[in-house]
């Protein structure tokens, strides 16, 4: 009986560790692709404010992003001069910070797309 309990515990442990690994991997993939997703939404040239951008991402991709992680990312993209931001006053008195893509951002997203397609093809080959 004891033996079975030990085996069961080990199996349960492996299962939990495995789940944990997959969750970590998913969160890393999401984190790694968020800038690509954001630049893709912005590439049409339309300006978005943070909350609007989150909704748009959810609508198009059905990816649930950790909302708080968007703002540090926007700051980095701005630092890299891929996007610019502008505060726009609102009737409510609470202004919105609108983000839009720069020409450099458009070039970057095109290069990212190329890489993504190549990567996707490789992954498809390897997972056959």
């Amino acid at each position: 009986m004891k033996k079975y309990i030990v085996i069961l515990c080990i199996l349960l442990y492996i299962y939990i560790m495995n789940e944990d690994f997959i969750n970590k991997w998913i969160s890393q993939v999401k984190k790694g692709t968020l800038s690509f997703i954001v630049l893709n939404v912005l590439k049409s040239g339309k300006a978005y404010y943070g909350y609007d951008l989150i909704n748009e991402i959810k609508k198009i991709t059905e990816i649930e992003i950790a909302e708080g992680t968007l703002y540090p990312l926007m700051n980095r993209l701005k630092d890299e001069k891929l996007i610019i931001s502008e505060w726009v006053e609102q009737e409510s008195g609470i202004p919105r910070k609108y983000y839009s893509i720069t020409p450099e951002g458009k070039n970057t997203v095109t290069k990212m797309e190329e890489y993504w397609h190549n990567l996707n093809n490789s992954i498809l080959k390897i997972t056959k």
């Binding site: 943070g50 950790a66 708080g68 540090p72 630092d79 008195g93 202004p95």
Partner: protein
């Protein structure tokens, strides 16, 4: 632009909101006023726009859902504050700003750890100035080719006559600290330019 606070009908919602703003302010207080206002206003706008989308319902519940999705200020603002602090630090030559920026960025890669060690060296030079005043005979730059190489406290291991700098020790340490300081700051600037 200044922050305009969101008005709530429910007192509990108001208290939760104010507590959240307080936590944001606490996280960003090391930054300059403009950066502090920017972060606070942007998160405030996020909360406001989110509330506007669901005008009906329990305010407390709505607010708690929004804040939960947004995340804890202590977690979400860490990378943002670290980035902004580094931006501020490399714009000025203020050693305190640079030191704080390095502390915040320590987990962001090995290169910052190297910068941090260089900074410790810098403080080492400054420390030696004080140590020399404290103990003029034992502290110094002791050098004898192939035998002795000590910068600091000799602890009686070497002969005081091996001290090379004498009264020039303090000026030499001052010059070393300043030189190292400029080198670190320039390297940091260079690193940020290369990263871009």
């Amino acid at each position: 632009m200044k922050l305009k606070e969101i008005q709530f009908n429910d007192q509990s919602a108001e208290r939760i909101y104010r507590d959240y703003l307080y936590r944001i302010r606490k996280e960003v207080k090391g930054l300059n006023q403009q950066n502090q206002d920017e972060i606070l206003m942007e998160l405030n706008s996020h909360i406001y726009e989110n509330l506007q989308e669901h005008p009906t319902g329990n305010e407390v519940e709505k607010l708690l859902n929004i804040l939960e999705k947004l995340g804890r200020p202590e977690e979400i603002l860490k990378p943002l504050v670290a980035d902004k602090k580094l931006e501020e630090a490399t714009k000025s030559f203020n050693p305190l700003h640079i030191f704080r920026a390095l502390m915040l960025n320590l987990t962001n890669g090995i290169s910052y750890i190297i910068f941090f060690i260089l900074y410790l060296f810098l403080f080492g030079f400054v420390f030696l100035i004080g140590a020399k005043i404290w103990d003029p005979t034992e502290v110094g730059f002791f050098y004898k080719p192939g035998e002795v190489f000590v910068l600091g406290l000799s602890k009686g291991l070497v002969h005081p006559s091996d001290e090379l700098l004498g009264n020039w020790f303090i000026p030499a340490m001052v010059v070393s600290a300043i030189a190292l300081y400029f080198i670190i700051t320039l390297l940091l600037k260079l690193k940020r330019t290369i990263n871009k």
